[in-house]
Symmetry: C2
């Protein structure tokens, strides 16, 4: 029998009731934790057609079986329906929160209903209650975290800032001040429930099913991470932005709202630039030996960041190449509780709308001060432009009559890899289950980062690779481990760790199945909400307008041919709908 | 051979190209005109997933074969994809415009692409061109109409006002100043194409296939209208608001945003009240012998209206019972180019949000001045509340975290009949193809208006009735005749007129088929866009919260049982998806 029980809390915010439950073993075994378990729970518990702000919508905080386990780089995730996209949403974050939640005694928390005044949830060593948070409402992320940590020493805090309170679709849930479960407006769902924060602390040890096997698996895991060039050298030294110069050299570092593929002065924003200009030291999440986190300083401002995606979004996307400006804008977003990717993409969209003359306010590409100014406006929903910015890039562009200026899929903005320079990445964005996310299937790895591996301009074989990476990524996500480990770790090694901890019979082969199952569960959730082939597309610019300069010039994404193959290999029909028997076989239904 | 050719213009606004074409006879015969032909054209020409503001979206102005025919109350309609709902949208309007378009030599116009500066379309007796409208942009509906009519004497003008220019989802297309193709944000689609107005004039006679049969059919048609109590007495005398007192007496006149079922002082807003207080004289659309239109005056303000729905939306929904206030608000909406229904419902939503304390601005039910103030704010998109109001009731409520406060289906607000007092009307709202519209299947007629006909509180047999009325209504709409004729006219009489004019072999039986075909074509468009059973629902208030007072108290809509039966009778599956073979048999595919 497994020691992993899926022990969880079911919290009704309307009545402040808190119930302890355990999860069925079959579901746990099939969907494991974090993103996978969240998808299955939401699929089973939430009917289609429910607005994320409605009282019937659910918000689920989850850990995986490896979260909080010693030597395991630990993550947690939040699953809900996205107010930005209308799809299923899971947001994954590091720091200490996930491990602390696990050590408080629970594997996950299901929030239901809606409070009518501000609340926070406190869990200390298995004691859980809902408390009033009227005094915290209106406070920023840093203020809230400080206040709660002084009230509950040694706890970890996940909370929303003003953006979440004002129901902005840019709103993140921030934990440990600088770590973000960021995308898709997850913070707005928390805000709509009047849930300001979740505070966790505990010293419970995670039960290990087979200690000896676990010790072996962990040693192998840590050795592999140490020996790998990415997880053992580049990431520790330069962080996630270590890859930035390569991406820029390939002409696929999207600049000025995807109008250009290279940024002059990109080096400033790279991992190397960060080390030279603003880094104090590296930081690491709970259990992590990689330590890709950055602690930086500009003037009197000290904080974590920036990561690759933030360097892109608050930098290149807006035509900004000052790492100091990017860092300060990053910290502003963290304090307001804002997704830096969607924020930067939205500002970039505003800049292009301004360039085109339809937005009256003059906001110019390259103006770092304007970026900070627009973040403030969005966070506080300043009447006028602030209100529009707070709704994200797609709705901003829609409001000004040019929806195609928003470079997004399913209303979620693309990130810092121009798929005109990597065809498979285009397919990955188009078929991502939460809108244009780069982390569903990170095709940049085989197409760009690994030398001489796949031809980035070819579409041949890309559907198969994309599926493999989407499934692999999902499988890693369900464990509760950080995805960054997957630069080094193989399926068998993950399965060894999982098996040792849970006692369930995972191996190399069924490890991929875990990912396939999760991906199909998410897809099925979206299909029930009305998504299909029509939504698996890319913005006009990427399908019809080649870049005019640089090493990726003259190319557009040839999506249709890859998409047909993708559906066939997935066992979905021509409209992208999973076949019922496959879902039954996978245990999704 | 039919003299009805479906002669039309295909206008690309990006290039200002204007091409003359005719339509295939098969399509004309099956889909006839207006709403039916529009649905088929949009289905065939516009792929799913295209935003209504995108350059690939189409906007189609259509007449029916009976539009502009002497003695026929003439309508035109506009078909596009709705920015408010994401469904197919057709908006129907009277006045002179439809007849004048027909007499200019064309049955319909397909607008494609997007201009980059303001334009208007001029059609005079078969000569058509795109002209600059820079001088008209920014002008109100009345100003625009006056300017164009002085430039092109004896023309009819359909145009947008400031609401359409600012891409408000409340924006209507107004013709002949006071007539509105109103709902679903059709004016915003026109605005997004930079098309300010369509100006038409002509003296071409509509070809009649069989003059003798036509004379007979028309005589029968006009006699029937004259003898019927609704079309011969009540509507001429009291307009569409003649029914208002009855609806209020039944406790299903939704007041204060559907929180109550009766309005104190409702009589003021009724047809009788209008006659006593503000009416100058009745008015009639082209070819109409009924004349339900009202020309009214309050102080120095003279104009058309108010109709029943406006008395409800700008009156009862907002708790206002002054017909003077309603009339003045109505004229304001006409001049700004705003759908009075969605506007009133949005203001009512704001009032409830204010009552609940989530909207800071104090806007109280019953405050007629506040209604006018909020119309101004919405029309001009005043930063802050104006911006939110301009997006319609659903998005306003969503922005404040209480989406269920918007009383809407598919994001379109319900109208002035509370379905808690008429179960079949609930089914009709839920299954309407363009969001909560009362005109898709006007169940109020058999459930409330016709004495002792159907039990309004029973669900028994309602699915069958609803389908019959939806199909009948759609069949009437495709002819180009006014729907108000259907209080008196039977299927056979419509078929006689249609057959005589077109030469196509319509009769009593295949007349209903015309409606069924149109309804299924619209449904299929929506299904392709992701709509299904999950969207065929009603707001929480109507499904779970009975009225506390009045003759409809204690009841909620029992939707599920009616819906199951409805799908079965429609030949749709349990998710509300039409079966492919049925669509093939109907000629939809």
């Amino acid at each position: 029998m497994s020691g992993y029980m899926g022990k969880h809390l079911r919290v009704n915010l309307a009545t402040a009731s808190v119930e302890e439950e355990i999860c069925s073993e079959k579901i746990l075994q099939d969907f494991v934790g974090c993103r996978g378990l969240g998808a299955k729970l939401l699929l089973d518990e939430q009917k289609p057609g429910i607005h994320p702000f409605e009282r019937r919508s659910k918000l689920i905080f989850l850990t995986g079986p490896l979260t909080g386990v010693k030597g395991c780089p630990s993550r947690y995730s939040i699953t809900t329906k996205s107010p930005l996209t209308g799809t299923i949403l899971d947001c994954n974050s590091g720091g200490k929160f996930g491990a602390f939640l696990k050590k408080s005694g629970y594997d996950y928390i299901v929030f239901e209903g809606r409070a009518i005044s501000p609340k926070y949830m406190l869990i200390e060593n298995g004691e859980a209650e809902i408390r009033p948070a009227d005094d915290l409402w209106g406070k920023t992320v840093f203020e809230t975290t400080d206040a709660l940590q002084s009230r509950h020493p040694k706890c970890s805090v996940a909370c929303i800032g003003p953006a979440g309170e004002s129901l902005s679709f840019l709103a993140a849930v921030m934990n440990d001040k600088h770590r973000a479960a960021a995308r898709g407006g997850v913070g707005a769902v928390m805000g709509s429930k009047f849930l300001k924060a979740v505070v966790v602390r505990g010293d419970k040890e995670v039960k290990i099913s087979n200690q000896q096997k676990f010790q072996e698996a962990r040693k192998d895991f840590l050795d592999t991470l140490r020996k790998n060039i990415t997880t053992g050298e580049e990431y520790p030294q330069y962080g996630t932005a270590s890859v930035l110069n390569l991406i820029n050299e390939c002409g696929m570092f999207p600049s000025k709202n995807y109008q250009e593929g290279q940024l002059s002065g990109a080096y400033n924003l790279s991992g190397q630039g960060i080390v030279e200009k603003i880094l104090i030291r590296r930081t690491a999440c709970y259990g992590c030996t990689i330590g890709c986190g950055r602690l930086s300083r500009v003037g009197d401002t000290v904080g974590e960041g920036p990561e690759y995606e933030t360097c892109w979004s608050l930098g290149a996307a807006c035509g900004v190449n000052s790492v100091e400006d990017v860092f300060l804008a990053n910290i502003l977003c963290n304090d307001y509780g804002i997704d830096t990717i969607e924020m930067g993409a939205t500002i970039a969209t505003a800049m292009e709308l301004s360039e085109k003359g339809v937005l009256k306010e003059k906001v110019q590409f390259g103006d770092g001060k304007a970026v900070k100014d627009l973040i403030e406006k969005a966070a506080l929903r300043t009447p006028g432009l602030g209100d529009s910015l707070a709704d994200g890039a797609y709705r901003l562009a829609e409001r000004f009559g040019l929806p195609e200026v928003s470079i997004s899929v399913k209303k979620m903005s693309l990130t810092g890899y121009d798929p005109r320079g990597a065809q498979g990445m285009g397919l990955s964005y188009a078929t991502s289950n939460r809108g244009a996310c780069h982390l569903r299937g990170y095709m940049v790895s085989p197409e760009v980062i690994i030398p001489n591996f796949l031809d980035r301009f070819s579409t041949s074989g890309k559907a198969k690779w994309c599926i493999r990476l989407q499934d692999f990524g999902a499988a890693v996500d369900v464990t509760g481990l950080c995805r960054m480990t997957s630069f080094a770790i193989k399926a068998e090694q993950y399965a060894n760790l999982l098996r040792a901890v849970t006692g369930f019979m995972y191996d190399k082969d069924n490890f991929f199945k875990l990912g396939e199952r999760t991906y199909n569960a998410e897809r099925w959730f979206n299909v029930r909400e009305g998504f299909s082939r029509k939504d698996d597309t890319l913005p006009h610019r990427l399908l019809e307008e080649p870049l005019r300069e640089g090493p990726s010039k003259g190319v557009v994404v040839k999506l249709e041919e890859m998409l047909n193959q993708y559906y066939e290999l997935r066992g979905w029909d021509k409209e992208g709908i999973p076949v019922r028997q496959n879902l039954l076989d996978l245990g999704v239904l």
